[in-house]
């Protein structure tokens, strides 16, 4: 209803106006990967009142996920990640429509998965698939918010159709599909920080504000608590 906010959103009104809240309610965000980054992104979008979430992950929860992944608990080891997501998100905000894709993103299923999305979030853990995802988003004319993590460190940016920022930042993943995370792991604080930053950029795109990280990327260092933005050459 125009001009009225549900109580859960009332106290956000100075940050997210009634008009912006309605835009969020009318929007669809696809999150590719429901692990450390994707789980926290989904939780935040549900709490922000995004109307429809498309969650894409073919994996099941295992014990090694407990160090960081919001949907993983000691009670759901072995469950499909998207099923665990449903249970959590319905408890958080039952008005959010969920489309759960218990499968891996690839360039062939991209058009089906993303056709109704206003925005796609890259929460993958493979550099090559990040590049494929951006290519698909470019082809389907979808804005993309991407984040990557390793140890104390993270990267974050926005790629609008034609920007190819992911390709410029991650370059070729064919030789080294995994980054430094393979030796540094991903402790809880890094995905949660980077997911939150990604959610903030996503909200700006949905409500029509200028994202801060187009044609640039944020380099986050939680060891030294340094956050620095770098321009991407065009």
């Amino acid at each position: 209803m125009k001009g009225i906010l549900a109580p859960r959103y009332e106290r956000n009104y100075k940050t997210i106006s009634v008009e912006d809240q309605n835009k969020l309610a009318d929007s669809t965000i696809a999150i590719v990967g429901c692990g450390g980054l994707g789980g926290t992104m989904a939780e935040e979008f549900a709490r922000l009142g995004v109307g429809h979430l498309i969650l894409v992950d073919g994996d099941t929860i295992d014990e090694t996920n407990l160090n960081r992944q919001l949907f993983s608990t000691e009670y759901n080891i072995g469950a499909k990640k998207v099923e665990a997501a449903r249970q959590r998100l319905q408890a958080v905000n039952s008005s959010v429509e969920l489309t759960l894709i218990d499968d891996w993103f690839n360039q062939d299923n991209a058009a089906d998965i993303f056709s109704g999305a206003n925005l796609v979030c890259d929460a993958l853990d493979s550099i090559q698939r990040r590049i494929y995802l951006e290519e698909s988003c470019h082809r389907l004319k979808k804005p993309l918010v991407y984040a990557g993590i390793a140890g104390w460190f993270g990267m974050l940016g926005v790629s609008l159709p034609g920007d190819y920022s992911v390709l410029k930042v991650f370059k070729d993943g064919r030789e080294n599909d995994r980054g430094m995370e393979k030796t540094w792991g991903n402790p809880a604080f890094t995905p949660w920080v980077m997911s939150s930053l990604a959610a903030a950029e996503s909200v700006k795109i949905i409500v029509g504000r200028e994202p801060a990280l187009r044609n640039s990327w944020l380099q986050a260092d939680l060891l030294y608590m340094e956050f620095e933005t770098f321009k991407i050459s065009k």
Partner: protein, 74 residues
Amino acid sequence: MEVNVKLFATLRDGRFKEEKANINENTQVSDVISKYNIPKEEVKICLVNGRDADLNQTLKNGDTLSLFPPVGGG
């Protein structure tokens, strides 16, 4: 001549955040990477004075070289 070398994320481990390096004429980016024993596969992004650079780019006096590793986990 002297260049400013800035390392980011995991490349700082056991090295430094920023250091002035004395180098010879015709030193390339890859020479600096070798000088600090950084495995080539650990350098994903390389900027010289804020602009994307190749490993074979020759450095000039006063350049700032910034090196970033791949951070691709989720």
